[in-house]
């Protein structure tokens, strides 16, 4: 994702003049790709406000009447608890990761010590290590700590992916803060921690926000650990709770699409917010493209 974050900001390129034919072709393709992207979202929303009769018997594209009952159904079940669990776990993992990650990233980018390179390599390595390689031993650890079937188990484990991510992202941002500012502060008698809190972190504020948003989103979207560590439905996070809703024989599509829509909202909102901030952060920090 390191590459991805930067890509969002790029707006140069394609400066050459193009002919009418190309403009038409471009718009045809733009419309095509927009439809390809949006049609699933469209159906998700439409199904969530259709009555069961219109979903299962009379096929309609646009519903004849708007029906909010699926959303009501959703909240008579454990959905609100799943939402709360996801929020708590994602927030906890993000706060821990951004604090420890800030210190770690500063040390790696700005201080001189033996082992720095090994730690930097180790971070990339762990950032790339997929959860599907680790869930079995982590399951044992969580069970051994008597934390299975509890969101505390997830809070323990989620930093395994949010922390390397935060540290790695912050490293590239910190590197682009001009050294001269720090040098001046150090000469004026400011300590290292003073430099971090008074100069680096305020300058990196947009980056901190972006990294927080992405870390929260990653934790919110997480699936495998929650599936493996939590066995009781009422204790689940929203992604797994949602997935296990289809366990029953009948597919309650209206309710399931309503749940899917609400689950997608927090990351989509954060992504939309972050997109603007990333561009802002890019122009401020002059990050390499």
């Amino acid at each position: 994702m390191a590459v991805a974050l930067r890509a969002r900001g790029s707006s140069t390129g394609g400066r050459r003049k193009i002919g009418v034919g190309w403009i038409v072709a471009t718009y045809v393709l733009l419309v095509f790709f927009t439809l390809w992207t949006l049609i699933p979202f469209f159906w998700m929303f439409i199904a969530s406000i259709k009555t069961n009769k219109e979903i299962y018997q009379d096929f309609t594209i646009v519903p004849r009447q708007v029906f909010w009952g699926h959303y009501y159904d959703l909240f008579t079940g454990p959905y609100a608890i799943w939402m709360r669990n996801s929020t708590v776990v994602s927030t906890a993992a993000t706060i821990l990761s951004i604090i420890l990650g800030s210190f770690g990233a500063y040390a790696i980018t700005r201080l001189r010590f033996t082992g720095r390179r090994v730690i930097a390599i180790g971070l990339v390595f762990t950032y790339l290590l997929p959860a599907s390689l680790l869930f079995i031993p982590l399951f044992q650890i969580v069970a051994g700590a008597n934390l299975s079937n509890s969101i505390y188990g997830l809070m323990l484990v989620y930093p395994s992916f949010t922390l390397p991510f935060c540290t790695w992202m912050l490293m590239s941002y910190f590197r682009n803060i001009p050294l001269e500012l720090e040098e001046a502060a150090l000469i004026d008698g400011c300590g290292r921690l003073g430099v971090l809190f008074r100069i680096v972190l305020p300058l990196a504020a947009p980056a901190l926000v972006v990294v927080c948003l992405f870390s929260f989103t990653n934790a919110w979207n997480e699936f495998l650990y929650a599936l493996v560590f939590i066995s009781s439905r009422d204790m689940q996070t929203v992604t797994v709770g949602l997935a296990l809703m289809q366990g029953e024989d009948v597919f309650y599509w209206g309710k399931m699409m309503a749940g899917a829509l609400l689950t997608a909202i927090p990351p989509v909102v954060m992504y939309t917010l972050a997109q603007r901030l990333v561009i802002q952060g890019l122009t401020m920090g002059g990050v390499k493209g």
């Binding site: 707006s11 471009t26 790709f33 299962y56 997929p130 597919f251």
Partner: protein
């Protein structure tokens, strides 16, 4: 990285240590380790230790909640002598799934990036829309497509309503359609990552190259083949490697869409490891399945680590 160090200023953290120690541990070692220590500890505890533990587990017969028995390579041997019938199939499915999905993401992502790179009004709005599937949780995207493909869903709904075909398409109970359908969903949700990276790569190509080529009379396809593609080579390589790791390891969408069926037609190795270890209670065998893909990851991670550190330096 060396030139980025601060050469000036008081060095309080280091004043109490002897020069010799400082030379070995580095100038700022005390403060540095105090700051980076928690990160290192958590990474060791949550990633390195479990990783080693998974290796040890893979040599045991171990059921959930029981003590393990050391059985050496027996778990691994069972993959090759036909005792474990699912492994070979899962490996093949993983290969087809990953290969198909990467190819699809590359083609659609490239087309999207080229279109979004055109200087047309409102392209930032289009970018925002086309990146959306990337932000959506994997469960949600899988769920929506499950609905689209369901017999009571819109695709079959339209087929029935407008008489397009004689029968419904049973996307997930027909073994020949299930895997391609799964690949399609993965392409839908994974394309934005490719588009973003390719767009960044396109933006970095100097415009002078295109201008010079145009003066020399190069056609559009020639410019694409001889300027665009070679310039994107390294972006494509990095994106392909990252995408391979994440696509092959991701079992969320498969879990939701097909659960691995019908008849293991969509069971990839990570899902097979999950099914063996958790519902099947055989932690040792599950760990061994996970470990079989590690050599491939190691090769990819080795090249990626080198590239990513190069970029950062």
């Amino acid at each position: 990285m060396a030139q980025q160090q601060i050469a000036l200023g008081p060095r309080r953290a280091a004043t109490h240590t002897s020069p010799a120690l400082r030379r070995v541990l580095g100038r700022d070692w005390l403060l540095a380790w105090a700051m980076v220590g928690p990160v290192v500890l958590i990474v060791l505890a949550l990633l390195i230790y479990p990783f080693v533990d998974a290796i040890l587990l893979s040599f045991q017969e171990r059921f959930i909640g029981k003590e393990g028995t050391w059985i050496g390579f027996a778990n691994y041997v069972s993959f090759f002598n036909g005792v474990d019938k699912g492994f070979g199939k899962a490996a093949l499915v993983t290969f087809i799934f990953t290969g198909g999905a990467i190819l699809g993401k590359f083609i659609v992502g490239m087309a999207m990036a080229l279109v979004l790179n055109q200087q047309v009004p409102a392209r930032n709005i289009f970018r925002g829309i086309m990146f959306l599937p990337w932000a959506v949780p994997a469960v949600v995207s899988a769920y929506v497509w499950r609905f689209l493909f369901d017999t009571t869903g819109p695709i079959n709904g339209m087929i029935a309503e407008y008489g397009l075909m004689d029968d419904y398409i049973y996307f997930f109970s027909d073994a020949r359609i299930a895997l391609p359908a799964l690949i399609l969903v993965t392409v839908w949700s994974g394309t934005p990552f490719w588009t973003m990276n390719l767009l960044a790569g396109l933006a970095a190509i100097p415009q002078e190259l295109y201008e010079a080529a145009e003066i020399d009379g190069a056609t559009t396809s020639q410019r694409f083949l001889y300027i665009t593609m070679p310039s994107l080579q390294s972006v494509i390589a990095v994106t392909a490697m990252l995408s391979t790791i994440w696509t092959s390891a991701n079992l969320t969408q498969i879990f939701v869409l097909t659960g691995g069926g019908p008849n293991y037609a969509t069971t990839t190795l990570p899902l097979y490891a999950y099914l063996t270890a958790i519902p099947g209670h055989q932690l040792g065998a599950g760990a061994a399945i996970s470990m079989m893909v590690v050599p491939f990851y190691m090769i990819l991670v080795y090249f990626l680590t080198r590239r990513m550190l190069q970029q950062e330096a």
